[in-house]
Symmetry: none
Subunit: 218 residues, 2 copies
């Protein structure tokens, strides 16, 4: 889940963004002026991205940008239509992108995703071999074809991919995916491993390490 800071003095726009981004799965915080934004940033530094209006009371967007830069949080400027100079100046100062008001929320989300991906903060997709796993939509694509996995299968797959080439001990694996202590002597884990192997055709990748657990290999 990403933390987004929205800095925008027009409360209508800010709140619209807030609601729509929230729906899209982003955690948002709003600041209605530059000073407030600085305070928030001071307190909680782990934002993943800042949406920054340029025209702000008290401290304007450029000034704030200088303040944000050392924190290495990517910034997308929100600019009024036609203000080409602003946009150029913004990019020169180190913003990662800009969006022209008025905007469609879809565009904002797309740009945010692009910026986050460019900055290496994209944690919402992991891949292995021919499979792409989207952690946010919980969709799995294999060679571009969607594979339908159940919840447990999905969680299991994610854990295996995130620990590729590391043996996952049966009990540990069970406890991580099922979130409860492993009581031994049950075929649950095996069965799910089989189901994953079968659905993905991954007999060759999901290796059994006898008496230890499983390892995703490749």
């Amino acid at each position: 889940m990403y933390n987004i800071l929205i800095v925008e003095d027009d409360e209508a726009i800010a709140n619209l963004l807030y609601v729509e981004l929230k729906d899209a799965g982003y955690d948002c915080t709003c600041a209605y002026d530059g000073k407030c934004a600085a305070d928030i940033l001071e307190e909680k530094m782990d934002f993943d991205l800042v949406l920054l209006d340029i025209m702000l009371p008290e401290i304007d967007g450029y000034e704030l940008l200088e303040y944000i830069k050392p924190m290495e949080i990517p910034v997308i400027f929100l600019t009024a239509k036609g203000a080409l100079k602003e946009r150029i100046q913004g990019l020169n100062l180190g913003a990662d992108d800009y969006i022209v008001k008025p905007f469609q929320t879809g565009e904002v989300i797309a740009r945010m995703a692009a910026v986050l991906r460019r900055c290496g903060k994209s944690i919402n997709q992991i891949t292995f071999s021919d499979v792409i796993v989207d952690l946010e939509s919980r969709k799995v694509l294999q060679n571009g074809v969607e594979i339908e996995l159940t919840m447990k299968e999905f969680d299991l797959l994610v854990d295996l991919i995130q620990n590729r080439n590391i043996v996952q001990q049966r009990d540990k694996l069970y406890e991580k995916v099922w979130k409860q202590p492993f009581m031994g002597d049950t075929r649950t884990l095996d069965t799910h491993i089989q189901r994953l192997r079968k659905k993905l055709g991954w007999e060759k990748y999901i290796k059994t390490v006898f008496r230890i657990g499983y390892r995703l290999e490749g």
Copy 2:
């Protein structure tokens, strides 16, 4: 043991990295300019990872990255603080990660470990003679060929390697690997030692110390 190439024109930084990485168990080579780095890479291609400064005399980091790419060696960029554009460009060009200067060595090591793992090069392995034992994947390679060991054999091997040239008393060895008190008068340990010797062809390395135990010698 990993081979790391450090490409950095600031000798102070390069040498600091060199020393600290050496301490952390990495084999390092330093190059103080891009041309030199290219020469070194030309000669010895088996680096596991390159730490690459972007601002370099003669050939800069981007150019060098193009050169390294076909070798399929992971690259971590070293960038000056705030140079967000550089980082984005670097990642777009195919770097695996970037680290912002000034950095803590701990951070460098952590990132390197992460990158190495992502690239399927495990970081937790011990070696003896012609054998590499990967503790994370529980795989054993002998001259690059995988040797399949059972759980007990593997545990036994690890213990022997970790105590190379030290006599391991039979009872102590048994208790460590089997995790239960040694009751004497059983051929279990001997048998497993034989199996290890046979699978690895290590008759010459695994020495018997009569009436005491075993010692891995070499």
